[in-house]
């Protein structure tokens, strides 16, 4: 038993070191070669490093960790391996909000949010409210009801997004379409600062609920009988996940697959105990998306692929390999 715990701690330390290495190392990789000395001199290379690549890597890491941790939380809460912010309609809600913002051609900031983040958050919150409201109509808040409601809401919102695209003019439509494919390009630290507080807060909350998530995996009845305040746990986790996802999706687009496969991969390596699993998922989600984004901007350079394509293309075979390895 001692060795199992040591093994898990070793994995977490390894993931942490790898995270730091990725955050420092990946900004050096790209079309323009940059040397270590180059980043401290006044050159184009140093500008690219500090203002384009580093913020982009930070966003990728934050977004990856947020989407993956949300997936892990939802999978435990719904005791369903397919539960993610996407299957529950939260991401589509955020996407709808952001699409609406783009379609209306708005440009504004509120409360220190960028306008698109604010709309994304509103959309995610709307999705949660609808899903939650639908389940409140029926007694008992059953897990399957929520999952089903989430699927329905996500289809509904996806259709609304298509509708917005249809009525948009050509440029707007293309813009929305490109945004929907997911992308992490950014200049400067504005977007990083936009999402960082939400991602950090959300991840910390999910870590704090690790014991509750463990019990929820076993079953709601058991969790309640062990002393879990189910209502409070669900509301807090639901709200923090939707805030996190809403803000991330509004900045990066709905990047799929990270929330699904990262928790599963981590579970295969570190087990189901959320006290270790959640931190592992946060690190590995960040590493995974950063790596995918690096590929998306280097594989067909100078052109770029939407990162959502890479996460799926890379993630699916890797996941299948892991699944059949045992």
């Amino acid at each position: 038993m001692k060795t199992q715990v040591l093994y898990k701690i070793f994995i977490l330390i390894a993931l942490f070191i790898l995270s730091v290495a990725v955050l420092i190392g990946v900004p050096f990789i790209g079309m323009t070669a940059i040397s270590i000395n180059g980043i401290f001199s006044k050159t184009t290379g140093s500008f690219i490093f500090w203002n384009i690549r580093l913020p982009r890597v930070l966003i990728a890491f934050l977004a990856g960790s947020a989407l993956a941790a949300s997936g892990a939380a939802f999978q435990a809460m719904f005791r369903n391996p397919l539960a993610t912010p996407f299957t529950l309609g939260v991401a589509q809600g955020a996407a709808l909000g952001a699409s609406l913002y783009l379609w209306l051609g708005l440009r504004f900031d509120t409360f220190g949010f960028s306008g698109i983040s604010f709309f994304g958050f509103l959309g995610a919150a709307a999705a949660i409210l609808i899903v939650y409201g639908l389940t409140r109509l029926k007694k008992g808040f059953a897990i399957y009801t929520i999952l089903l409601a989430g699927v329905v809401v996500s289809f509904f919102f996806s259709s609304l997004i298509l509708f917005i695209q249809y009525v948009s003019d050509f440029t707007q439509s293309l813009y929305i379409m490109r945004w929907l494919m997911g992308g992490l390009e950014t200049v400067g630290y504005r977007s990083v600062l936009d999402i960082a507080p939400f991602v950090l807060a959300g991840n910390v909350i999910i870590i704090l609920f690790a014991n509750e998530l463990n019990l929820l995996v076993i079953g709601e009845d058991i969790a309640v009988s062990r002393g879990v305040d189910l209502r409070r746990t669900k509301i807090v986790l639901f709200l923090s996940v939707s805030m996190m996802v809403g803000v991330v999706v509004s900045v990066c687009g709905p990047i799929g697959f990270v929330g699904l496969i990262v928790p599963h991969i981590c579970r295969l390596v570190i087990g189901h105990d959320h006290r270790y699993l959640v931190p592992a998922v946060i690190f590995f989600g960040g590493i995974f998306l950063t790596f995918c984004d690096m590929l998306s901007r280097t594989l067909i350079a100078p052109a770029e692929m939407p990162v959502g394509i890479i996460t799926a293309l890379l993630g699916a075979p890797f996941f299948i390999w892991l699944l059949f390895r045992k």
Partner: protein, 258 residues
């Protein structure tokens, strides 16, 4: 002293009455079996006591105080639960799973203390599951797993244990293992309330039986009282034969074949 008192407890799901004005009181240290046909409301009754189901009519008092006045953690320190397990296989090792029974005593991020580990070890010893403490629950047989579920409830350190069909799906040896464990737990002073379909187990192991049918309490008394055809007919709508076990001298209740 009453540890549990239910006063005219009612509960409905989607307008269908599952419990109708059920009243009873449980003394400290009792060993009670709840019997009754499928769909009688036995599991619902247990879930109301655990506050898994909320919003019923009537009142439930736990140690003299209303159920609502406890928060979930406080309640968990008083009542533990062994659910109908069947296909429920948590993805943890035995030790990890039993340690989760200590949840009401843990704060977020704090790691389990010495007394948590002691409670777990004691629960494992008492249920005879210490020998496979390091194994995954998925590698155990149904009977072994059921013992682990009881160990997890024991580790919770509560004075009342509610069990929902703890012996269903088990072979005769494991059924008796479980019942003997429950008897031992009861001797340690834990109040046991178990839902069961096995009338013979109820008669030979518990000291009091509650019979529920269509949400109503139709019998509340000592085992001897249930061994009457009119009582059992009222519960199950069929007749039974009562004989004495030739070897053990224990009463046996056999349903009459058509």
């Amino acid at each position: 002293m009453n540890v549990i008192e239910a006063k005219k407890l009612s509960f409905n799901i989607y307008g269908k009455d599952i419990l109708r004005e059920v009243s009873f009181a449980v003394d400290r240290g009792e060993f009670i079996s709840i019997i009754g046909p499928n769909g009688a409301g036995k599991s619902t009754l247990v879930k109301c006591l655990l506050r898994i189901f909320i919003g019923g009519g009537g009142a439930i008092l736990i140690k003299g105080k209303p159920l609502e006045s406890y928060n979930q953690r406080e309640l968990a320190k008083i009542i533990s639960y062994v659910p109908q397990t069947g296909e429920l296989i948590p993805p943890f090792t035995v030790y990890e799973f039993v340690l989760m029974g200590r949840y009401p005593y843990l704060s977020p991020l704090s790691s389990p203390k010495k007394d948590d580990h002691e409670a777990v070890t004691e629960a494992l010893m008492l249920t005879g599951t210490d020998e496979f403490a390091g194994r995954e629950l998925s590698t155990l047989s149904g009977g072994e797993r059921q013992k682990v579920f009881i160990a997890a409830a024991l580790a919770q350190g509560s004075e009342i244990m509610l069990l929902d069909e703890p012996t269903t799906f088990l072979d005769p040896k494991h059924q008796y293992d479980i019942l003997k464990i429950l008897r031992k737990v009861n001797e340690y002073g834990v109040t046991i309330i178990a839902v069961t379909h096995d009338i013979n187990h109820a008669v030979s192991f518990s000291r009091r039986i509650l019979g529920i049918k269509e949400g109503k309490m139709v019998f509340d008394g000592v085992p001897e009282g249930i061994m009457k055809n009119e009582t059992l007919y009222e519960l199950y709508e069929r007749s039974f034969t009562f004989i004495v076990h030739p070897k053990t001298g224990m009463p046996l209740i056999l349903p009459d074949a058509e």
